[in-house]
C-alpha cells in the first residue's frame, strides 16, 4: 500500500509537470533534434545566405543584450528592452538575445511579434541563439522558422577595426561533435585575420561559481575544458552566456566569461545588459520591471551611466 502511494505520488507529480513549464520527459531524451542535427540545419541556412558584416560608424559602440525572456503570456520586459534599444540612437545597429525566448509550449508568435519591432523598417537586427526552453516539447523547428540559424558568425566593421562575433548553439547543454569541429576550424582560420575582439555568445554557461547557478546545469567537464582551451588558444577574449539568470564576470585563461541576467517578466532581478565595446569592455546592467529603486550598475571605470 505504501509503495502504491509513493508510486502514485511520483506519477501525479510527473503528470502535473508535463505539459507545462518543464519538459520532464526531456530529462530522459530530448524530443527535439540533437546538437549535431541542429548544427547541420543551421549550416544549411548559412550556406544559402552567407554571413553578414555590420558597419558601425565609430570604433567604440555599445550592444544591447537580452537573455532568458521566458515569454509566456506577457512581454513587458521584452517590450521595455526593445523600446529602450530603438530609442537609443547611439546603440549599435544590432543587439543580441542569448536564448530562452519562450518558457514552455507555444508563445513563439507572441515573442516574435514583440521582438520583430527591431527588424521592421529600422535597419537594425537582433542576433539570436537557442536556449533549452526554446527546444522543449520538440520546438526546434518552430524556433528555426523564426530565427533560422543558431550556429553562425558575423563581423562588426568599425572605421579602424573589425570584431568577430561567433554564435554557438548549446541549447541542450552540449555543442555536439560537428559544431565543435566547425568552431575549431573557424577559430583557427579567423584568428589570423587581425580582429580587435573575438566574442563568442551562447546560452549555457561554462562555469558554475555560485548559488545562482544551483538550479541550472552546465556542459560536461570534458567539453568545458575543450571550450576554455579553444577560446584561450585562438584569442577569444569574451564569452557571453545566459541560462543562470544571474550575472557574473569572471576571467579564466585570458578570456572573460560574462553571464547576463534574465529579462523574464515577474522576475525579481530582471535586467538587460549594455556591453560597451572599445579597446576594453564595459558593462551597464539596466534594471527592468518592479525594483525597489531605480539604479544602474556599471562594471567599468569611466563608463557613463545612461
Amino acid at each position: 500500500m505504501k509503495k502504491l502511494y509513493i508510486f502514485s505520488l511520483i506519477a501525479l507529480t510527473l503528470a502535473a509537470c508535463t505539459p507545462g513549464n518543464l519538459d520532464i520527459l526531456g530529462m530522459f531524451y530530448t524530443r527535439s533534434e540533437g546538437a549535431d542535427q541542429r548544427f547541420e540545419q543551421s549550416m544549411q541556412y548559412n550556406d544559402q545566405h552567407g554571413y553578414c558584416t555590420i558597419t558601425v560608424p565609430q570604433d567604440e559602440y555599445h550592444v544591447y543584450i537580452a537573455s532568458d525572456t521566458h515569454v509566456d503570456f506577457t512581454t513587458l520586459n521584452l517590450d521595455t528592452f526593445v523600446t529602450d534599444y530603438l530609442a537609443d540612437a547611439t546603440a549599435a545597429p544590432f543587439c543580441l538575445h542569448l536564448g530562452d525566448f519562450i518558457n514552455s509550449v507555444g508563445h513563439y508568435d507572441t515573442c516574435y511579434a514583440h521582438l520583430s519591432r527591431i527588424w521592421n523598417g529600422t535597419g537594425d537586427t537582433c542576433f539570436c541563439t537557442v536556449g533549452n526552453h526554446d527546444i522543449y516539447y520538440d520546438q526546434w523547428q518552430v524556433w528555426r522558422s523564426f530565427f533560422q540559424t543558431s550556429s553562425y558568425w558575423f563581423v562588426v566593421q568599425t572605421p579602424a577595426h573589425k570584431d568577430l562575433y561567433i554564435c554557438i548553439d548549446t541549447g541542450d547543454g552540449t555543442m555536439g561533435s560537428k559544431q565543435r569541429k566547425w568552431l575549431e576550424a573557424l577559430l583557427s582560420e579567423q584568428s589570423q585575420l587581425g580582429y580587435r575582439h573575438i566574442i563568442a555568445f551562447t546560452h549555457t554557461h561554462i562555469f558554475k561559481m555560485d548559488a545562482s547557478q544551483g538550479h541550472t546545469s552546465n556542459m560536461a567537464l570534458e567539453e568545458t575544458y575543450e571550450l576554455c582551451d579553444l577560446f584561450s588558444r585562438y584569442g577569444v577574449d569574451l564569452v557571453l552566456q545566459g541560462h543562470s539568470h544571474a550575472r557574473n564576470i569572471s576571467p579564466f585563461k585570458d578570456v572573460q566569461y560574462v553571464r547576463v541576467d534574465a529579462l523574464e517578466d515577474h522576475y525579481y532581478n530582471a535586467f538587460y545588459t549594455i556591453m560597451h565595446v572599445g579597446k576594453e569592455y564595459g558593462w551597464t546592467f539596466v534594471p527592468v520591471g518592479p525594483q525597489d529603486e531605480d539604479k544602474f550598475e556599471v562594471y567599468a571605470p569611466g563608463v557613463p551611466h545612461l
Binding site: 526531456g26 530529462m27 533549452n132 541549447g171 547543454g173 562555469f207 567539453e223 576554455c228 579564466f252 585570458d254
Partner: protein
C-alpha cells in the same frame, strides 16, 4: 621531525600488519568515447588499503590517450553498525588535462551508508580549474566552483560479500572523475572472484579464506543536458580488469 616520521611509519606498518581485511590492487584497461574527445583508451590502477577494521585508504590513477592523467586519494573511516556500515570519505583529486592545458583539483568530503544490497553516499566538493600555463601575476589563472553536491547510489544484485555480483547506479563522481552535480553518470558493473584461495597472503591475521583474484567489468554512461531537460548521449566508458586481493 625525523623521529615523528619514524613513529608514524611504524604505526602504519603495525596497523597494516594487524589489519584483518585484505588489500586489493586492481589494474583495468579502458575504452571510452565522448563527443568531445571521441575515441580514447587507457589504463587505470586502483588500490584499496585497509589500515585496520575502521580505517582504509583508496588510491587510484589513470592515464589515457586523450592525454588526461588523473590521480586521487581517499581516506575513509568506517564504522560497523548493527545493520550495514557507515563511512566517511575525504578525497583529494587531481586531473592533469594536458590536451587542454588545464588542471582540475577537487577536495571532497562525504558520508555514506553501505548495506548488503544498497549503498548511498552524499557530500560536497569544491572544484578548482587551473591554467597549466599560469602566470603568477594574472588574476585569471584559476577558477573556482566552490560548491557541488556529491552523490552516489549503488544497488547490488547480490550481497556485498558475495564472490560475484552485479551492480548499477547513478553518481556524479567516480574515483577518477568529478562532474558537477547536474551531470550524473550512470554505471553498471560486475565482478567475479576466481576460486583460487589464499594463493598468497600478507598475514595470518586475515579473516577466513580469501579469493585472491577478481575480474571486474564496468560501464559508465554520461548523458548531457539532463537538467536542461534536453537530454542526449554524451559519452561512454568501458573498463575491464583484474584485481589481486591479499
Amino acid at each position: 621531525m625525523k623521529k615523528l616520521l619514524y613513529i608514524f611509519a611504524g604505526l602504519l606498518v603495525t596497523a597494516a600488519v594487524s589489519a584483518k581485511k585484505p588489500y586489493s590492487i586492481t589494474l583495468l584497461g579502458e575504452y571510452g568515447y565522448n563527443t568531445t574527445w571521441e575515441h580514447f583508451g587507457g589504463g587505470e590502477l586502483r588500490a584499496n588499503l585497509p589500515i585496520n577494521d575502521n580505517f582504509e585508504l583508496d588510491v587510484a590513477g589513470e592515464g589515457h590517450t586523450a592525454r588526461v592523467y588523473t590521480f586521487s586519494a581517499t581516506a575513509r573511516p568506517v564504522f560497523q553498525l548493527p545493520v550495514g556500515e557507515l563511512f566517511l570519505d575525504g578525497t583529494l583529486f587531481y586531473s592533469h588535462v594536458q590536451r587542454n592545458r588545464i588542471a582540475d583539483f577537487v577536495m571532497a568530503a562525504s558520508i555514506g551508508y553501505r548495506m548488503d544490497y544498497v549503498s548511498v553516499q552524499v557530500g560536497t566538493f569544491c572544484q578548482i580549474f587551473g591554467d597549466l600555463d599560469y602566470n603568477y601575476h594574472a588574476l585569471d589563472s584559476y577558477n573556482v566552483d566552490p560548491f557541488n553536491v556529491l552523490y552516489r547510489l549503488q544497488v547490488n544484485v547480490r550481497p556485498q560479500t558475495s564472490p560475484w555480483n552485479l551492480y548499477f547506479g547513478g553518481t556524479d563522481y567516480t574515483e577518477l572523475e568529478y562532474e558537477r552535480h547536474w551531470q550524473p553518470i550512470f554505471f553498471l558493473g560486475a565482478h567475479y572472484d576466481l576460486p583460487f584461495y589464499n594463493v598468497f597472503s600478507r598475514s595470518d591475521n586475515l579473516k577466513g579464506n580469501i579469493r585472491n583474484f577478481r575480474i571486474l567489468a564496468e560501464v559508465y554512461c554520461k548523458p548531457t543536458g539532463m537538467f536542461h531537460l534536453d537530454a542526449s548521449f554524451y559519452g561512454i566508458k568501458a573498463k575491464l580488469g583484474l584485481g589481486i586481493r591479499f
